[in-house]
Structure formats: structure tokens, C-alpha cells
Amino acid sequence: MLLRLEPRAQASRGLRIAAPLIALALTLGSGTVLFGALGQNPILALHTFFIRPIDSLYGLSELAIKAAPLALCAVGLAIGFRGNVWNIGAEGQLTMGAICGGGLALAFYGVEGPWLLPLMVLAGGLGGMAWGAIPALLKTRFNANEILTSLMLTYVAIQLLGYLVHGPWRDPEGYNFPETRLFGEQALLPVLLDGTRLHGGVVLALIAVGLGWLLLSRSFTGFQIKVVGQAPAAAAYAGFSRGRVVWLSFLIGGGLAGIAGLGEVAGPMGQLNPTVSPGYGFAAIICAFLGRLHPFGVLLASLLLALLFLGGESLQMHLNLPLAITGVFQGLLLFFVLACDVFVRYRVRLGPAVASPAP
């Protein structure tokens, strides 16, 4: 055998932090090769991808705008993944949050007041929660696999959004474009920095990260989530309910994703259209793992993934490369993150087995 794994008695602490960095380095290395293969100057391409989008205040603010929904979704997912609850329907929950919050803005169009925005945030969160509650119910009541149900519901939510903006909610003065009218002034998140689009959603994301940390690292509830995730039998023995963790994960995850969706439509977009999200809900899965399922790690990972989105746009704009390159980088990054995890748990030895067969 060429490669052997020896389990470590104790997971390596140093490598736990180093592993995501190694993964990032490997992704960059693959990127260099990829750009080279595309006939691009790798240095220029990497610069255009990773540096150019954020070399200005405006660029940095755009980074924060993209990182906010990612962090909101990913913190929720990380909590669930810790509990071995596989909510991969954040994209759908985000969409439902956008529909519910945005729907409120449309319903109160013209009669709005300062009360509207908080209500919209609430509606967005509740919409996401309600969408997350379905897989939770199906899991706890009917034992249905939550990966499949939450994902199927994502497709349903996206079709529902498509139906609404093509049909009943379409802007009557919109020349038949599939989009709603622009929200009123009071239905938009405040801009925090003049000359940028930096909006209040960023603050919500930071609050979510803080609360997520408190929950996972300091609270007894977080401890229960972790026990349920790592050792279900030990959780049953200690009297921690698996069903409760499923509900909690989906309600928190759905709620945060819903707020993220509301943040998109009440922030940079200002209306509903068929593509509320460029895949934040799926990219958040990568953020969760890259951030080692730790809220602070998730925050850093969200910034990186946001940079991948911006970098893709930048490559398209400046070097005429396809936007799809972002997806390739996302996939590679996640692969490397998972593969690097092996060093944390095992010692990797090369060469034939140390145990030589008896002569």
C-alpha cells in the first residue's frame, strides 16, 4: 500500500487551524494551473480574481455585501451540521424569506412607515423558518431523509418565486419583465456608508455570527447539539433529544437563511426577480465546512467565498473569462478542505506498511 493512515489518539489542534489554510493554498495552486491551461498569465489572472475586486473601498463594501448572506446562511448550517442535521436547503429557505419579506413590501406599497422594515425582517425570518420547519417535521414525524426533502423544497421555492414574479406579483408597469415593482423607500435596508451599497444586512450577519458562537461554544444547548451530532447513542443515554436538535437546527438555519434572503431583496436588489440568489445557499455549505463549523471560522470563510463570487465577475469583466469559473473554484476548495481534514485525525504515512510481513 502506498499510503497509510494511522489514527491519532488525540486530534491535532495546530492542524485543525492549518488544514483550511492548506486547502486554500492547494486551491490557489490548482487555480494557477487552470489559468495557465486556459492560456492566461496566471499571475495576472490570480490578481484579477483575488486582488482587483477588493483594491478599493467600494470593492471592500461589495465584498461585505456578498459575505453577509453567506455568513447568515452558513452559521445556521454549521449549527445543524454540528448536530448531524443535514439541512442543504438554505437556498430554498433564503428564497422563501425573500418572498415573504418582499411580499410584505409589495402589500404595503404606498402605505409604508418606519414600522415596515422591522416587520419585513421578521417576515423574512419566519418565512425561512416555516420552509425549514417542513423537513424538520418530515424528519421527526416520518423519518424522511432531510437532505432530500430540504433540497426538493429548494426547487419548489424557486419555482414558486418564478410563478409569483411571472404572474401575480409582476410589475404592472414593467414592460412584461419577470420582476416586481421597486420597493418603497421605507422598505429598503439603510445604507451604512455613503457612496457604497453597504447595507444593514451586514450588521445582522455579524450579530448572527456572535450569537452562533455563544450558542455553540458556551451554551448547554450547543453542547447538546454537539453530543447529538458526534455520538447519538451518548445523547440518548444522557437524555438529549435528537428531535429537538433537528427542529432547532432547521428553525435557526431556516430563519437565518430567510433573513439573508430578505437582506438581498431589501438591500442591493430593491425588488423581487426570478434569481434572488446566485447560489448563496449552496455556497454556504462550503463556508460552513471551510470555517470548520465554527461561527468565527464561518465568517472568514464567507469573506473568502464572497471574494470568489466577486473574482468571477472581475475575470469576466477584465479578462473575458466565463463566470462559471467561480463554481469550479468553489468545488475544488470544498474538496481540498475535506481532504485536508484527514491530517487532523490521522497521521499519513507514505511507503509500504511499517509492519513488514513475517519472513
Binding site: 494511522e6 419548489v156 418564478g162 411571472h166 468545488g331 470544498l334 485525525r345
Partner: protein, 310 residues
């Protein structure tokens, strides 16, 4: 033929075509899961297969070469999954998700120049004489070769699992890798083979979409069929014959939705497009309700990592 019969035949034929990629993908996943490995990356492998098959067809002009190339591409990416989960012992759920994300990104990237390229897809093959029988001929004997292949493969997999020694070994590995290892079977190698079969099948399923079902390449053209195939394996309680039933059921739901619109009923295409997904959820709920049934039929080692020295 009366117009009603004609419509009915058209619906049934279309159902068969819509169900066929699901048969391929679910059959591959069934074998993979029988060996104890849960590969959630079908959607990604299908997309890779679809784009690889399409490009190969454009370049060679032969859809058969496209099919072969799609299966090779599917196998190759499944090997990536195998290295990660079987050799590096990564979490199978997370790695499967990664494979899907990677497949979506990579297929969109390499397929970019091929959107809208016309190709000559695989054509239906009329069986001589039998294909001329009214109604029955259209229903059974005028399909493209891959429809027949799906049925042959299904029978072969069913026979392999139930009747051959290799099939018995595969089931044993999925039941308890410790026991199989102690008896002396190469657990990891067997699982690699099963994963690769799943990859080849997913690639084939993808090729069916891009070369037969809608002979063109569009980004994300699988539209969740990989996930539906995963649900089908549960629905089938890991029995090949029931995969067929489930696949045609889902095919039928998709097609009936389209025909409702074609028949001039007022229904939003968006709402009709929800049907297969809602049906998947419904079916999962119905089949999973009985936890004991799942536990009795699911391979006992499904999703658990195996480290021989541990």
C-alpha cells in the same frame, strides 16, 4: 388510431423516455449503496456526464462515442469521490455535496462554448417487424437503444446481486465491513468498484439527457434528477425491480404536467414544474414512515467509514 389513443401512447412513450435517465442513475447508486457507500454526488456526476457526452458527440459526430465518453467521465469523477471517502476517509455526506457543487461548476465551465450547438442525437431504433405492430409497436419497439440498454442493465444488476457470488460479496461488504474484512475480503477495493459503477451509470444518465432527451447542452440541465434518483433508491428499498417502477412513476408525473399545459388548461408552468419535487417528498414520507422497513432493507454499513487498522 383515434386521437385519444394517440395522446395516450405519446404520453406513455414520453414517460418511458423521462424515466430512463432516472433508471440509470438510481441503478448505479443502488449498487454503490449496496456496498455501503452513500454517494450524494449523482447530480454532479450526471452533469459531468452530460457535458462530456455532448462535447464528445460534437467533436466526433458520433453519439455512441458520446455515450462512452460520458461514462468514462462519470467514472473518473466518481474515482475522485472514492479517493476522498475510501482512502482519505472523509465524511461521505459532505464529500457527495462537494461532488455536486464541483460537477455543477465544472460542467458549466467546460460546456460554455457548446450552449446552443446543434447535434444529431441518438435516434430511435425500430425493431424490424415488431416495430410495425400498431400501438404496441410504438410503445415497446420504437425506442432509442439506451432505453433497451436500461432494461438490460436493470435485469443484469438484479441477477448480479441476487444470484452471483460477487453480488453476495458486495452485499456482505455493505452489511458489515468489519466482518467482511475479518473473513478476508478487500473491502476498500470492492467499494471502489461499486463507486465507479455508480459513476459510470450517472455519466450514462447524463448522456441520455444531453444526447437523447433534449439533444443540447444547457447549464444545470439535470434540474435535480440526480437527487430524485437518490430518493428512488430509498423508495425502491434497495431492490432493483422497484427502481424501474419508481423511475417511470416520476417520468409520468413530469410528462403529465407537460400534457396538462399542452391540453390548454390554465396552469402555470412554474407550478407544474414543482410536481416531481413534491412527489419525491411525498414518496419519501410514505416509504420512510416505517422506520423498521428502512432499517431492514438498507445496507447496515451505509455511510460508515471503514479503516482497516482501527
Amino acid at each position: 388510431m383515434s386521437p385519444e389513443v394517440e395522446t395516450l401512447v405519446a404520453i406513455l412513450v414520453a414517460t418511458l423516455r423521462a424515466g430512463t435517465p432516472l433508471v440509470f442513475a438510481a441503478l448505479g447508486e443502488l449498487v454503490t449503496e449496496k456496498s455501503g457507500v452513500l454517494n450524494l454526488g449523482i447530480e454532479g456526476m450526471m452533469l459531468i456526464g452530460a457535458v462530456a457526452g455532448f462535447i464528445a458527440t460534437v467533436l466526433t459526430g458520433s453519439p455512441f462515442a458520446g455515450v462512452v465518453f460520458a461514462m468514462l467521465a462519470g467514472t473518473l469523477v466518481s474515482l475522485l469521490f472514492g479517493v476522498l471517502t475510501l482512502t482519505l476517509l472523509t465524511n461521505q455526506v459532505a464529500t457527495g455535496l462537494a461532488l455536486t457543487i464541483f460537477g455543477i461548476g465544472l460542467s458549466a465551465f467546460v460546456g460554455l462554448g457548446y450552449i446552443g450547438t446543434p447535434i444529431q442525437g441518438l435516434q430511435p431504433l425500430a425493431v424490424p417487424l415488431l416495430g410495425d405492430i400498431p400501438v404496441l409497436g410504438l410503445l415497446l419497439f420504437r425506442h432509442d437503444p439506451l432505453v433497451y440498454l436500461s432494461l438490460v442493465l436493470l435485469a443484469a444488476v438484479a441477477w448480479f446481486l441476487a444470484r452471483t457470488r460477487a453480488g453476495l460479496v458486495l452485499r456482505a461488504v455493505g452489511e458489515s465491513h468489519e466482518a467482511a474484512h475479518a473473513i478476508g475480503y478487500p473491502v476498500i477495493a470492492i467499494r471502489y468498484l461499486a463507486v465507479m459503477f455508480g459513476g459510470a451509470m450517472s455519466g450514462l444518465a447524463g448522456a441520455y439527457l444531453s444526447l437523447v432527451y433534449t439533444p443540447q447542452w444547457t447549464e444545470n440541465m439535470t434540474a435535480g434528477r440526480g437527487w430524485i434518483a437518490l430518493a428512488l433508491v430509498v423508495f425502491a428499498t434497495w431492490r432493483p425491480a422497484r427502481v424501474l417502477l419508481g423511475a417511470y412513476l416520476f417520468g409520468g408525473i413530469t410528462i403529465v404536467g407537460l400534457h396538462i399545459q399542452a391540453a390548454g388548461f390554465e396552469a402555470s408552468s412554474h407550478l407544474l414544474a414543482m410536481l416531481p419535487y413534491l412527489a419525491t417528498i411525498l414518496v419519501l414520507v410514505l416509504i420512510s414512515r416505517d422506520a423498521n422497513r428502512i432499517r431492514l432493507n438498507a445496507p447496515a454499513a451505509l455511510g460508515k467509514p471503514f479503516h482497516p487498522d482501527a
